[in-house]
């Protein structure tokens, strides 16, 4: 599943990442505790979080995550946005809560429209 399709489908605000959204999302991880995200997220995952601290970008970069979705309309801290641009990690904002964001993305990954029935 392409990140751009997820952005369109969930009407995510692109805080950083215009032009680099053409990446493959293999899975996702939901978490606000960075130690947990660091230990358990995998390469190719999209991080869904309410944590706005700049360390989310460092962790995403370290684990080779394809992007970050902040939920509940959370505004990223200024340094977080700067760091996202530096590390080239797409930083997106959803108005929906984490439960719904994760649910919708999960459904998209499980049953992509292009998949033959």
């Amino acid at each position: 599943m392409n990140l751009e399709e997820i952005v369109k489908s969930l009407h995510l605000k692109v805080k950083y990442g215009e032009g680099i959204l053409n990446v493959d999302v293999r899975g996702g991880y939901v978490g606000d505790l960075l130690s947990d995200v660091m230990a358990n997220s995998h390469k190719g995952d999209l991080l869904i979080t309410r944590q706005i601290h700049q360390n989310i970008v460092a962790v995403a970069s370290l684990n080779e995550l394809v992007g970050i979705v902040l939920v509940q309309g959370a505004e990223p801290a200024a340094e977080t946005l700067e760091k996202a641009a530096k590390e080239k990690i797409p930083l997106l904002v959803a108005d929906l809560p984490a439960f719904e964001v994760a649910g919708r993305i999960y459904r998209m990954l499980e049953t992509p429209e292009t998949q033959p029935m």
Partner: protein, 246 residues
């Protein structure tokens, strides 16, 4: 004689990965003196290798340097621990290192430089200092207290890594000595925002990660001398010791 001490009880050095490299011991002390501070507590993230050097850099200057650490709990809440001497700090350090997994990635998280009082680089801390310990907030406060230190809930008003942001409220069973405010609303703003915390003393600290931030927030505290036991009395507001601006 009891007098007012200008205290900034939470400053970092270049050992913290998220701090600037120019906040090395001598620069830190120079700026603290310029800001007319009487007391600083040096509190790097989960580490303390630069504390002895800051103490040496301040020797003879009149500035009191209290050994401290900003410890990350299992819940990812930041706790400021402050001691009178290096020996209890060393003990808490050993505990923290036994429970702090991971190695630093300098490219992503930042450099962790150990710098002496002559501005010479002594080495680099290779542990993952931005990480969280496997110790609960409760356990950490207990350990700090049993070593004779003060346990302050760091930057409570901040959305990330403050006790309110991470846990939603302050558990009255955890005996914090004080709440730290480091945001622009100051302690007056925080008093209005958190009426439920009325029973805790509030201190304002800079949480400086850059030289220019040192002393930008500080607390006037009436003490006889700058020690942990005097600070405890001031937090309790007893025997003529008290906090001024909160």
């Amino acid at each position: 004689m009891i007098r007012a001490f200008r205290c900034d009880l939470h400053v970092h050095t270049c050992l913290s990965p998220c701090a600037d490299l120019d906040i090395f011991p001598r620069a830190l002390v120079g700026k603290a003196l310029l800001e007319k501070l009487d007391v600083i507590a040096v509190c790097d993230h989960n580490a303390s290798e630069n504390v002895p050097y800051v103490i040496r850099a301040a020797r003879g200057s009149g500035l009191t340097v209290l050994p401290g650490m900003e410890i990350t709990s299992r819940e990812e809440v930041h706790l400021v621990a402050i001691f009178d001497s290096l020996s209890p700090l060393q003990k808490i350090q050993e505990l923290v290192y036994r429970h702090l997994p991971g190695k630093n990635d300098e490219e992503r998280f930042g450099c962790q430089a150990i710098v002496n009082e002559l501005d010479e680089v002594e080495g680099f801390n290779e542990r993952l200092l931005i990480g969280a310990t496997e110790l609960s907030l409760d356990e950490l406060v207990q350990n700090v207290h049993s070593l004779g230190g003060i346990a302050v809930a760091a930057h409570i008003e901040r959305e990330s890594f403050g006790v309110m942001g991470q846990l939603g409220f302050v558990d009255p069973a955890i005996p914090f000595d004080a709440m730290e405010i480091s945001g622009i609303s100051g302690s007056a703003g925080a008093r209005k925002r958190y009426p439920e915390l009325a029973r805790y003393p509030f201190v304002e600290s800079s949480d400086a990660h850059r030289v220019g931030e040192i002393g930008q927030r500080c607390t006037g505290i009436y003490l006889e001398e700058a020690t942990v036991s005097e600070l405890k009395m001031a937090f309790a507001g007893c025997e003529g010791r008290y906090i001024v601006c909160c």
